[in-house]
C-alpha cells in the first residue's frame, strides 16, 4: 500500500527542503519583526498622519491573498522597463529575494496589528506613572510600553509564526525548492501522492508543534505572572 522504499529513498531531499523552508521563514520573520515595531508605534499614535497610512498598509495587505502579492512582486514587476534597466533588477529577478520581500511585507502587516493591539491594552496607569517620573517618550516605549506589550502579544505572535511557516509553502509556486516543492517534485517523478505529500505533512506537523512548544516555553518564562496561582500556596 505505502511505498516505504520511496520514502526511504527520498527523505534526504526533504531534509534539504526543510532547511530552505526554515531559512525562508527565519529571514522573513526577522525582517517583519524589525519593521513592525516602529509601524505598531505609528499605528497607535494619536497623529492621523502617522496612524492612517499604517492602517491603510495593513488593511490592503491583510485583505489580499499572499499568493497574489507574491505574483505581483515576482512576475508583475518585470512589466516596468525602468525597473528592468535599474541596478535593482538582479534582485527582483531572483525568486528568493521576491519571496522574502513578499513574506516579510505580508507578515509585517499582521505583526503590526498584533503589536498595536497589545500596545492599546496597556493599563493607562503605567503610562501615567512613567510620564510622572519624567521619562522621555523614547524611554517610555523602550522601558515600559514595548516590553509589556510584547509579553501580551506573545500568544498571538506564536500563531503568526506558525502562519508564516505554513505560508512558506507558497514559495513553491515561484521555483524555490522548499519542502512543498520537494514533495511536488517527488510526486511528479513517481506519481505517488500519498507518499510524497504524506511525508511532507509529517515534516510540517513536526515543525509546527516544535514552534508551538517553543512559544509555550517563552510564555511560561515571560507570562509567569499571569498564571493562575495554586489553590493552597505553600510557605516559601
Amino acid at each position: 500500500m505505502v511505498d516505504w522504499a520511496l520514502i526511504a529513498e527520498s527523505w534526504p531531499l526533504y531534509l534539504n527542503g526543510l532547511k530552505v523552508s526554515l531559512i525562508l521563514m527565519a529571514i522573513s520573520v526577522s525582517a517583519s519583526f524589525l519593521l513592525s515595531v516602529p509601524l505598531a508605534i505609528a499605528r497607535v499614535s494619536p497623529n492621523p498622519l502617522l496612524s492612517k497610512p499604517v492602517f491603510l498598509y495593513t488593511y490592503v495587505i491583510r485583505g489580499t491573498p499572499l499568493l497574489v502579492q507574491l505574483y505581483m512582486i515576482y512576475f508583475g514587476l518585470a512589466q516596468f522597463e525602468w525597473l528592468r534597466e535599474s541596478a535593482a533588477w538582479p534582485l527582483f529577478r531572483n525568486a528568493w529575494f521576491c519571496a522574502w520581500l513578499a513574506f516579510a511585507l505580508n507578515s509585517t502587516a499582521y505583526t503590526t496589528e498584533i503589536l498595536a493591539g497589545a500596545l492599546r491594552q496597556t493599563p493607562s496607569g503605567e503610562l501615567e506613572a512613567a510620564r510622572s517620573l519624567g521619562l522621555s517618550t523614547f524611554s517610555i516605549y523602550r522601558r515600559i510600553l514595548l516590553p509589556s506589550a510584547m509579553r501580551r502579544a506573545l500568544p498571538q505572535y506564536g500563531n503568526e509564526l506558525v502562519m508564516v511557516m505554513h505560508a512558506t509553502s507558497i514559495a513553491s509556486a515561484v521555483t524555490i525548492v522548499e519542502l512543498t516543492r520537494t514533495a511536488r517534485d517527488v510526486y511528479y517523478n513517481n506519481l505517488a501522492p500519498l507518499e510524497a505529500f504524506g511525508l511532507v505533512a509529517v515534516f510540517y506537523f513536526v515543525i509546527t508543534f516544535t514552534l508551538v512548544g517553543l512559544i509555550k516555553l517563552l510564555e511560561a518564562r515571560f507570562l509567569k505572572h499571569l498564571r493562575p496561582k495554586s489553590a493552597d500556596p505553600r510557605p516559601a
Binding site: 490592503v60 491583510r62 485583505g63 489580499t64 491573498p65 499572499l66 499568493l67 497574489v68 502579492q69 505574483y71 505581483m72 512576475f75 508583475g76 514587476l77 518585470a78 512589466q79 516596468f80 506558525v162 511557516m165 505554513h166 505560508a167 512558506t168 509553502s169 507558497i170 513553491s172 509556486a173 512543498t180 514533495a183 511536488r184 510526486y187 501522492p193 500519498l194 505529500f197 504524506g198 511532507v200 505533512a201 510540517y204 506537523f205 509546527t208 508543534f209
Partner: protein, 240 residues
C-alpha cells in the same frame, strides 16, 4: 494602460480582459460559498463532538483540529487533490468503473471546507460555551425537547458570539481560494495568469485582482458587522 504603447487595444481598460476576470471572480465566489457551507457542517459536527460526553467523539474532534492546524493549506490541498484522485480511481477500478477525473472545484471546496471546518469547530465551540448553561437547563425544565432547546435557545444566541470568529475564517478562506489556481481551478488568479501571459502586463492584472479581493473582503466585513449588530440588539456594551 501604459501610455508609451501605441496599440489601439491598449486604450481599453485591462485590454478588454475585465469580463474574463469577472467570470473568474464568479468562480472564486462560488468556491468560497460552497466551501463555507461545507466548513459550517464540519464545524458544527466538530463542535458537537468536542462538547459531547463521549470520549471517542472528543478524541476524534481533537485529532481533527490538531491535524489541520499543523499543516499548510497548500499541502492539504495537494494531498487531497492528488491523493484523492488515486484513491477514488483505485476504488473505481475495483468497482469496474472507468477512469474518474476529480474536478478541481469539487476537490477544492471539499478540502477548504474540511480545513476551515476545523477552525470553525473552535469558533462554534467557544460560542456555545459562551451561552450560560442555566438557559438550556431552563428550556429543558419547561419541557422543550433537546432539538427545541438547540433551535430556539442555543443557535440564535450562538450567532452573536460566533460572528467575529466566523468573519475572520471567512476572510482567510476567500484568500485561500487563490491557492486553488495551483491545482488548476479556473478562478480569478488563473484568469489573471492567462491575461498576463497574453498582454505581458502581469503587474496590471495581479494588481487588478488584488483590488477585487480587497473589495470582496471589505464588503464582507461591512455585511458581517451589520449582522453582528443585528444579533446583538439589546446587548449593552461596557462604556468606560
Amino acid at each position: 494602460m501604459t501610455p508609451f504603447h501605441a496599440d489601439p487595444d491598449d486604450a481599453m481598460f485591462l485590454h478588454g480582459y475585465l469580463p474574463a476576470i469577472l467570470e473568474g471572480l464568479r468562480s472564486t465566489l462560488a468556491v468560497s460559498a460552497v466551501s463555507l457551507a461545507i466548513a459550517c457542517v464540519f464545524g458544527l459536527i466538530g463542535a458537537g463532538a468536542k462538547l459531547s460526553a463521549s470520549r471517542a467523539a472528543n478524541i476524534a474532534a481533537d485529532t481533527y483540529t490538531t491535524l489541520i492546524r499543523g499543516l499548510p493549506e497548500l499541502v492539504l490541498l495537494l494531498l487531497i487533490f492528488y491523493g484523492g484522485q488515486i484513491l477514488i480511481n483505485s476504488l473505481a477500478d475495483k468497482a469496474g468503473l472507468g477512469y474518474l477525473d476529480i474536478n478541481p472545484f469539487i476537490a477544492g471546496t471539499t478540502t477548504l471546507g474540511f480545513i476551515f471546518g476545523a477552525y470553525l469547530t473552535e469558533t462554534f465551540r467557544g460560542a456555545i460555551l459562551a451561552i450560560p448553561r442555566g438557559q438550556s437547563e431552563a428550556g429543558l425544565a419547561y419541557g422543550m425537547s433537546r432539538g427545541q432547546v438547540l433551535r430556539r435557545i442555543i443557535l440564535p444566541q450562538m450567532v452573536r458570539h460566533a460572528i467575529p470568529g466566523f468573519t475572520n475564517n471567512w476572510l482567510v478562506m476567500i484568500k485561500a481560494t487563490a491557492l486553488l489556481s495551483i491545482i488548476g481551478l479556473d478562478d480569478m488568479v488563473h484568469r489573471a495568469n492567462l491575461a498576463s501571459a497574453a498582454t505581458r502586463e502581469p503587474f496590471t492584472f495581479y494588481a487588478a485582482i488584488g483590488g477585487i479581493y480587497l473589495a470582496v473582503t471589505t464588503v464582507s466585513i461591512l455585511l458581517l458587522g451589520w449582522v453582528e449588530r443585528r444579533f446583538s440588539l439589546g446587548v449593552r456594551k461596557v462604556e468606560f
